[in-house]
Structure formats: structure tokens, C-alpha cells
């Protein structure tokens, strides 16, 4: 039992955070917890939640791996769905889903290849990726516009709790639950915790790292679908903002970039915390400065939760 607690120590902070914010939100903005309120919350928060989930396996795989390119990647899938698929009359759900997931996986495989075979550190590889994709996105679609496939655009209603968005989130959790029970996932954790131990004890660290990235690809694809559903159009820049948000959520969720630790529960909690902060702040009439309030609070939350995490876990994290 207390083994369980100690193993989930990293969840204490984010859990408390969500709890506190949830209560405040319930008081300040009760509509949030109505049926429709929750449906809307789901809709708006889904892209961030999935983005945060997506970068989790990469962080777990170690080497200070934080995927800076996640935002532009989601943006890329978003604009290409609108321009390449819808633009050419390809709107069948199966095709769109398949495309979104395959495209994101292809990119992640590319990143993994750079990290594994060229042996470039993940942070630099994904930094380059960020720049490349954010440029490419603007080339494909120079400004917001276009239309999502009808069925996808309709997700934007967000009045039904039992919506595709919910199913996607559930699916994501199921995928994770299943995957995290496979030995492969244990290999990834071991590799993240200590790559040399993994290597010498016979773990195929090449496959393991590819696996971590491909898994990220799957979630990134789903995130892109949800974003497209939310804005019902293509936007070359909206995705980029997701990078820093997702990393914030990840870290708020208690996953440390030192690898080996963490899971999507934390990332989901982190993303929820960010959503709730936003709801709470919007419930005050801050007017023109409301945007800045959000930024301020994200920052403070990040710093404070890092400091708390430092206190709750005593081991020092080695430099990237």
C-alpha cells in the first residue's frame, strides 16, 4: 500500500492542484460542472490533454527528452487535413483518422531516427523539428482558413458529453493502459531510468526508443483531430502554442524530464489544472488583462510545483 503511495508520490502535487482549482471553479463558475459545461470543457481541453499525453512516453524514455516539436506537429496535421485532404475532397473518417495518426507517427519516427542513429540529443532534434514544421505549416497554409470535414467540424458543438472527443480521450487512456502493461513499456521505462542498465541487460533500446516516439505519434495524431474539430478549420500557428502548454502540463503532472518516471495520469491532471486555472481566471472580470493573468498563473504554477516536487522527492536530477 505505502509502496503504492511512494510510487505515486509524484502525483500528489498535481492531484492537490486539480482538487483545489476544481473547488474554486465549482464556486466561481458552477456552470463548469453542468452536463453542457463538462461537454464544453472536454472539447476545449482535449487538444492540450492529448498533446500532454503525447509527450509523456518521450519524456519517460529519458535523455532529457522533451518533444518541442509537438505543437507544430499537431499544427501540421491540422493544416494538411484541411488543405491536402478536405481540399481534395478526401473526407472519409477512416481515411482522415488513418492519415492523422500515420502522419504524426511518420514525423515521430523521423525524430527517433535522428536521436538514435545520428545521436543528436532529443532536445536539439526536436528544436530543429519545431522550426522546420512551424515554417512548413505556414508554407502549406499561409493563414488560418479552410474547412474541416463536416463530421469533424461538428465535434465543435461540444454540447454532448458522449461525443467523439470523449471517445478519443477514453481510447487514448485505454491505449495507454494496455501499452503500459506490455513488457515493451517496461523496457522504455528501464531505458529512461538508466539506458546503460537497459542496454547491458539485453533491452533492445533502438526498438524501445522508436516505440516511445511512435506511441507519441498516435496521441499527437488524435490531438490534431481534436484541435481540427475544435476550430473547424486549419490554422498554421495555433498548434505552436501547444508546445509550451503541453510541456507545462507534463511537468505540472509530476513527470520529470530525467526519465523513467511518470505516466499519463499526471499529464492529464496537469492539463486539467491548466484548464481549470483558465476557467477560474475567466470567471473574474479581468477584462483586457485576463490573458496576462493566465500567463502569470501558468508560470507561478509551474515554478511552485517544480519546487514542491523537489521537496517531495529528495533525489537530485542530473543535468540534461
Amino acid at each position: 500500500m505505502e509502496g503504492l503511495v511512494s510510487r505515486n508520490r509524484h502525483l500528489l502535487v498535481p492531484f492537490g492542484l486539480v482538487l483545489v482549482l476544481g473547488v474554486i471553479a465549482a464556486v466561481r463558475a458552477p456552470q463548469t460542472f453542468t452536463y453542457v459545461g463538462l461537454a464544453g470543457a472536454l472539447l476545449v481541453a482535449a487538444p492540450l490533454i492529448l498533446a500532454a499525453i503525447a509527450i509523456t512516453p518521450i519524456a519517460i524514455a529519458g535523455r532529457g527528452g522533451v518533444d518541442l516539436s509537438i505543437g507544430p506537429l499537431i499544427g501540421f496535421v491540422n493544416v494538411t487535413i484541411v488543405v491536402w485532404l478536405t481540399g481534395n475532397g478526401i473526407t472519409h473518417p477512416v481515411l482522415v483518422f488513418a492519415y492523422a495518426i500515420l502522419a504524426a507517427c511518420a514525423w515521430q519516427a523521423l525524430l527517433a531516427a535522428l536521436i538514435i542513429h545520428v545521436r543528436i540529443s532529443p532536445i536539439i532534434a526536436s528544436l530543429a523539428g519545431f522550426m522546420i514544421l512551424s515554417g512548413v505549416n505556414l508554407v502549406i497554409l499561409s493563414r488560418p482558413g479552410g474547412f474541416a470535414p463536416e463530421w469533424l467540424g461538428n465535434w465543435g458543438w461540444g454540447t454532448e458529453l458522449l461525443s467523439p472527443v470523449l471517445y478519443i480521450l477514453v481510447a487514448a487512456c485505454v491505449i495507454w493502459a494496455l501499452f503500459s502493461r506490455t513488457p515493451l513499456f517496461q523496457h522504455i521505462r528501464l531505458m529512461g531510468a538508466d539506458e546503460r542498465t537497459a542496454y547491458t541487460s539485453g533491452v533492445d533500446i533502438v526498438k524501445a526508443r522508436y516505440a516511445a516516439h511512435l506511441l507519441a505519434g498516435v496521441f499527437a495524431g488524435l490531438a490534431a483531430l481534436c484541435l481540427t474539430g475544435l476550430i473547424g478549420s486549419g490554422d498554421p500557428t495555433q498548434g505552436n502554442t501547444l508546445t509550451l502548454q503541453a510541456i507545462t502540463a507534463l511537468v505540472l503532472g509530476g513527470t520529470s524530464l530525467s526519465g523513467g518516471k511518470g505516466g499519463i495520469t499526471g499529464s492529464i491532471l496537469g492539463a486539467l489544472a491548466m484548464y481549470l486555472v483558465f476557467v477560474v481566471l475567466s470567471s473574474f472580470n479581468f477584462g483586457a488583462i485576463s490573458g496576462f493573468m493566465t500567463q502569470l498563473f501558468y508560470g507561478l504554477m509551474l515554478v511552485i510545483s517544480l519546487m514542491l516536487a523537489l521537496v517531495t522527492s529528495r533525489r537530485r536530477v542530473a543535468a540534461v
Binding site: P144, G145, F147, D235, F278, S290
Partner: protein, 367 residues
């Protein structure tokens, strides 16, 4: 269809309208809000960085709110700002609806991204009005001047100003924002009409003097080519002018549309450029939007989805007349025609099925 319901002189304002902009008959021809008066109105702005938004906001909260509260029509205005993040603006709109507002004014975003939120609002009996820019949803109402027409005329006038040929720089607003795109569409049309007018570059100034100044600064710094004229979307020309002054180049003509700072430079250098425009005077545009919102809440029945008025050109002397000699290039104020010019009752009447001055309506219907 629907357009011919308008008095002919109003129809003129619709020519060359951005084909993205819906001008069909409105969904609010017979519509009553879920409650009130008094009404709560939400203002979901996408951005708050520039003098233009500030001016519009102050018209809304400093001038209009007191009067309409007095009249028992409005009791509160809730303002939100999304830092150009669509997801946030969507969330804010939904949250305003859930908080129980009766109408929402949104400013200037991606014409598609907010649609579902708009329809959500509509389903809850809340009307969403886009001022300064349009939304494509048929549940949205739009009120502004015809920015495509504005872009066309401003560009055309600029090109003619420098003799129908030369190198031009286009300073746009925010990529993807309806108003910015409409303006550019018009401007491009004009450029096509002049084979020897070459567009050598485009920068996005976010309608913000500082941004425009930095972007133009960077452009001039990295582009050796000579620029004969700068076609600028309104409300950032002061920044553009400062950039040019700072770059050390001699000041070429820059299109002017309301900013008092640049206008002051014109007053001090009368032969700089011969004319100026009124395309989106911030306060008046806001009042146009607000006025239309109130009329809709009063079930006056807007005929069309988009309430469009024309832009107009005026000679330099007349434009700067209102400025004193002590004016400053750093001024953040606006030269505005005033609501009686921009959206007077008789004009407004043309756009509604059961027109009436909102305050008179109040006098009758609010005890």
C-alpha cells in the same frame, strides 16, 4: 437575395464585398433574447494590444455603458481577451454564454474557428455579433464597414498618389483575421489594375504601432530596394511612419486612416500626401456594432447577416482640421467622423425590419 430589401444607397456599400462574408438574410429577423432588459453583454476580444482596441473598448465602457445602463437597457458588460488563442476565445465565448449573458460582441478573429461556439450561443438564445470583421456562421451577425472595398480604394488612391507605378509595401493586420484578409483582398485587386505597380513585400503589423514599427523597421533594414509608397491598414500608420523616419530614408507616402499621430505629421508636412481615409474608426465601429446588438435584442429584426457601410476618402486639409498646431506624432488618439456620420439613425433604420432608436425604445418599453 435579401440585399434588395435594403434602400438602394445602402446597397452600394456591399459592392465587391469579401466573397467569404455572408450577406444573406439574418437568422434574427424575428428573435427575442432569453431575458431582459436590462441585458448583460459579453465582449470577447481576441487581442488588446493596440490603441484601436483600446479606443473601441473605452467607447464601450466609458461612453456607451453609462448611457444604456441609465436607460435600463444594459446592466453589465463582461470583457475577456484571448491573446490571439482560438481555443481560449472559444472557451471564453462558451463561458460567457454559460454565465448568462444575452449577447456577445466578438472582435476580429479567424472567420471560421468560432462558428461552433457561435452556434452554441445561438442554441442558448444568445446572439453573437462580430464587429470589425466577420464570422461565416449563419447564426452570427456582422457589423462593420466594407473592408474589401476599403482596401481597394486605399490601395488605389496610394498608387495614384505616386503616379500609378512603383514599388509598394503592404502593411497588413493579423494574418487570418477577417478584417485583415478582407482589406488585403481589396488591396490586391487595386494592385492588379496597375501593371507597373509592384508589391515588393508584405508585413503584418498586428494593427499595433509598435509591432508595425518593428516589422517595417526590419523590412526596410533587410530590403535594399527602394519603396515608393506604403499601403497600410488603418490604426498602425503612426508606427509605420516612425519606422520610415528612423530608417533614415526620405518619407514616402503612407496611407492614412485615422491615427492622430501620423495625421499630425501630415499637418506639419501638408504636401506629404493629398488625402486620407475613414475605414474603421475604432469608437464608431464599436458603436455601430453595439447599436446593432441592442437593436437586435430589442427585436428590431436585422434584415441581413452583415450590416455593411461604406468607407470614405477625404482631402488632407479636412482630415487634419481637427488637430491643433500643438499636436504630437506620438499621439495615440484617433480622428473619427463620429457616430452621427458613421451610423446615424436614418441610416441604421435601413438595415432593420422594425427600426427605432434604441433609447426611444427604452423610454417606451423599460419602466
Amino acid at each position: 437575395e435579401g440585399l434588395e430589401e435594403l434602400p438602394p444607397k445602402l446597397q452600394a456599400a456591399y459592392q465587391g464585398v469579401d466573397e467569404g462574408q455572408p450577406i444573406g438574410t439574418s437568422a434574427y429577423r424575428d428573435w427575442t433574447p432569453r431575458s431582459g432588459p436590462p441585458w448583460t453583454i459579453g465582449y470577447a476580444s481576441s487581442y488588446a494590444g493596440n490603441t484601436w482596441r483600446a479606443e473601441g473598448l473605452s467607447r464601450l465602457t466609458e461612453d456607451l455603458l453609462p448611457v444604456y445602463r441609465q436607460a435600463g437597457l444594459v446592466d453589465e458588460i463582461i470583457v475577456t481577451q484571448s491573446d490571439l488563442n482560438d481555443a481560449r476565445q472559444i472557451q471564453q465565448i462558451r463561458q460567457l454564454v454559460d454565465q448568462g449573458v444575452d449577447a456577445i460582441i466578438v472582435c476580429c478573429s479567424n472567420p471560421v474557428a468560432l462558428n461552433k461556439a457561435v452556434e452554441y450561443a445561438y442554441s442558448k438564445g444568445v446572439v453573437v455579433f462580430s464587429y470589425s470583421g466577420y464570422l461565416t456562421s449563419d447564426k452570427a451577425l456582422n457589423a462593420s464597414s466594407n473592408y474589401t472595398l476599403g482596401g481597394y480604394e486605399i490601395a488605389k488612391a496610394m498608387i495614384e498618389e505616386v503616379g500609378g507605378e512603383g514599388n509598394f509595401l503592404l502593411v497588413s493586420g493579423i494574418a487570418g483575421a477577417a478584417s485583415s484578409e478582407s482589406f488585403d483582398t481589396g488591396a490586391m485587386r487595386a494592385l492588379e489594375e496597375f501593371p507597373n505597380a509592384k508589391l515588393v513585400g508584405q508585413v503584418w503589423g498586428n494593427w499595433t504601432d509598435q509591432v508595425a514599427q518593428t516589422e517595417v523597421q526590419k523590412f526596410l533594414a533587410t530590403n535594399p530596394a527602394r519603396i515608393d509608397g506604403i499601403i497600410a491598414q488603418g490604426s498602425q500608420e503612426t508606427g509605420v511612419l516612425k519606422a520610415v523616419l528612423q530608417s533614415g530614408r526620405e518619407v514616402m507616402p503612407i496611407s492614412l486612416a485615422g491615427s492622430a499621430g501620423a495625421a499630425c505629421y501630415l499637418k506639419q508636412n501638408p504636401d506629404w500626401i493629398s488625402h486620407a481615409f475613414q475605414i474603421w474608426p475604432p469608437g464608431d465601429e464599436m458603436e455601430l456594432g453595439f447599436n446593432s446588438v441592442i437593436r437586435t435584442l430589442q427585436n428590431q429584426g436585422p434584415k441581413l447577416q452583415s450590416i455593411l457601410r461604406g468607407v470614405y476618402r477625404l482631402p488632407a486639409a479636412e482630415y487634419v482640421a481637427s488637430l491643433g498646431d500643438d499636436c504630437s506624432v506620438d499621439s495615440t488618439a484617433y480622428i473619427q467622423p463620429g457616430i452621427d456620420v458613421w451610423f446615424p439613425d436614418d441610416k441604421a433604420a435601413g438595415y432593420f425590419l422594425r427600426p427605432e432608436n434604441p433609447l426611444d425604445w427604452a423610454a417606451k418599453n423599460v419602466n
